[in-house]
Symmetry: C2
Subunit: 124 residues, 2 copies
Amino acid sequence: MNALLLVAHGSRRQESNDEVTLLAEKLRTSCRDNFTIVHTGFLELATPSIPEGIEQCISDGASQITVLPYFLNSGRHVVDDVPEIVAAVKKEHPDTDIIVAPHLGASSLMVDLLIDQAKSASVG
Amino acid sequence: MNALLLVAHGSRRQESNDEVTLLAEKLRTSCRDNFTIVHTGFLELATPSIPEGIEQCISDGASQITVLPYFLNSGRHVVDDVPEIVAAVKKEHPDTDIIVAPHLGASSLMVDLLIDQAKSASVG
């Protein structure tokens, strides 16, 4: 089974973490054709951690896990921290295929999304 | 003329600010039908500031400006800081229609974008 792990930075504000959890719930109902399992993992300041999120995916039966960094900029967290954490967990689970997707900000659809967002506001 | 002001947090890492500037350039070439003018404004740590970005839009001839917060979470910056800064600038420009769009993370297209991003990685 394919799993999607939505990875966010984590915040001291519980509301921000709840927004990520809610987004994962929306993903869970929308991407069943491609990902049977969806969990979250936070880099810091919130739980579950990224390793805990990966473990949840595996214990749910995932054979492939796509780690998706919910970050806008390709800063240190995206370039170094997330891949290093994932690489460490991979060593413990050599039979599980774990890949890290490009971060959200790198999406080719971002421009279209921003234009849609701006248009809907200016019309309203 | 309609203007779009892409508002980001700003970073000590110049590369992160450059990514926002590059995104604004992509917007500039993609949204001409809806927004003739596109500028950036940073909340902190980088320039132009949000007021400076609004002034650039006005000096380019904007009569309506849509301020689009490039933020994932509805934290203090999105809820308080950006609207307060925009409200202060609006007082100086009562003839310009300035609205603040919902922040990026609130987009109804976010789930689809994330699924697309995850799918393209897991296929590759």
